[in-house]
Symmetry: C2
Subunit: 282 residues, 2 copies
């Protein structure tokens, strides 16, 4: 490809650009977003070749556009760039929820044949282009959720670009993706945020954080994630997230009841099942 645009040059969009450059991509990478100051930082860091704050201008003449903005900004971003698209421009995204992106894109674009929704299963608790690095996607999975009208040439092109970043690309149905991610990513983030928030409200919070050990640090790391991004994800994946959260609340209540009843056997069986699962997949 001769030119692509990345809208939203943060950890995800910036790492995509750096990974492509590190792996032989020779096209021009145009950064786009609202803040010229932030985009200038991205250009100074060598992440993008040039930038535009007018989104329609940014995508004009690009073969592919990657949307790496928060879920809540997808629709307004699509509206802002729409007039710069040609019939051939491939549109993909890196959003954590696919159902809401598909709804947004269908509400804005008349023709979605060149739309290929995607989600790289990668990230850190840091955000911003300063946190971007070329190996973020190395060996990680990227899930594409093509629409029924997505042209295979568009799917193949998106797949090839992600493979060039070092990622393994797979396809899933939209709803399936959203249920799986609600369980493995969105729910754990809610639990980490809620746990740290709970402890912060306790009287002993200073000692609590003083005596926090490695297990707690690992467990709560994701509570350092970007609050607005996770607010958007929580709302965008509301249905699947509330469903798995309900399962979790029921499971936790059963465990609490076993502890209340001093039912050691029930407690141990639950822990044992969890340990077997955890040891099996990691």
């Amino acid at each position: 490809m001769k030119r692509i645009a990345i809208v939203g040059v943060g950890l995800i969009g910036g790492s995509f650009a750096l990974a492509l450059k590190a792996n032989g991509f020779k096209g021009e990478i145009v950064g786009a977003g609202r803040s010229a100051t932030r985009l200038q930082v991205a250009q100074d860091l060598g992440v993008i070749d040039r930038f535009e704050t007018d989104l329609a201008e940014a995508v004009r003449g690009c073969e592919l556009v990657l949307l790496a903005v928060p879920m809540g900004a997808m629709r307004s971003t699509l509206l802002a760039l729409r007039s710069g698209l040609s019939d051939e421009t491939i549109i993909t995204d890196a959003g954590s929820v696919k159902g809401s992106f598909v709804a947004d894109v269908r509400s804005v674009l008349a023709n979605c044949a060149r739309v290929v929704p995607g989600h790289p299963i990668a990230g850190t608790e840091n955000s911003g282009v300063e946190a971007a690095f070329a190996t973020l996607y190395q060996g990680r999975r990227v899930i594409l959720t093509p629409l029924k009208e997505s042209e295979s040439s568009a799917v193949t092109a998106v797949q090839a670009l992600w493979q060039q970043t070092g990622a393994q690309v797979e396809c899933l149905a939209v709803e399936h993706h959203d249920r799986v991610l609600a369980a493995t990513s969105h729910l754990p983030h809610l639990l980490a945020f809620s746990l740290v928030d709970t402890l912060t409200e306790l009287q002993e919070r200073e000692e609590i954080f003083r005596y926090a050990a490695g297990g707690f640090r690992d467990f709560s790391r994701i509570a350092s994630s970007d609050p607005r991004m996770w607010r958007d994800i929580s709302l965008a994946n509301q249905e699947a997230l509330l469903a798995v959260l309900g399962h979790f609340q029921a499971n936790l209540s059963q465990l609490a009841e076993s502890i209340r009843q001093r039912d050691g056997e029930a407690i141990e069986q639950r822990f044992q099942r969890a340990k077997l699962s955890r040891d099996g997949f990691c």
Copy 2:
């Protein structure tokens, strides 16, 4: 000291021995436990100098005894070794709950002047003597919860040994310790076990674990911990654990309600509070 006994030579007891040896301790370290096979492994690994499966024999002639057995085995262990103690033998432990250890020791020993309960805030999700290593306590905190009758010479001796392992030693009241640890360690373990157990029950569990990323791995690492040990801790710290678990359940329900109501501001505020706390202490 010329001779000490470690009852329960696993990750915690074994690392205590290795750390002392690595830091110039010249006394004899006697390992004790139920399984001669496991103790032989510990001796072959150079963790202990010799071993006894008769606990009273093991502690006879020792200046200090460290109990590093599961919380649920503390009382029976104390009963088994009691006849080998002299009036001068210092008794300490490494249990994660101090209230239940104090209750156990008071029910078994007539005189607790040489008892100094302790808890090293260190560990990994692995267990067994093979997982032990000399630097486990380096720079970590060890909390002592002396009884009102604990003699200061005994407290000082226990403190000095832990300092020799590289740990920072501090003192807390028993109930205070148990509330703080319920929040920072015991509750996160319950959540991790319960989350993994919940996901294991879902229809999509294969994809769920297939697409689990780094955040989930970190978050769920502690669900690989020893189920029986954590069963014992859950029961031993029942009261404090159920209290903080109740706070957490209320917090999580509020978050779920905000998601249900699509109240983005409330969600973001909660996440923001958590992120500020997390960023502040780590």
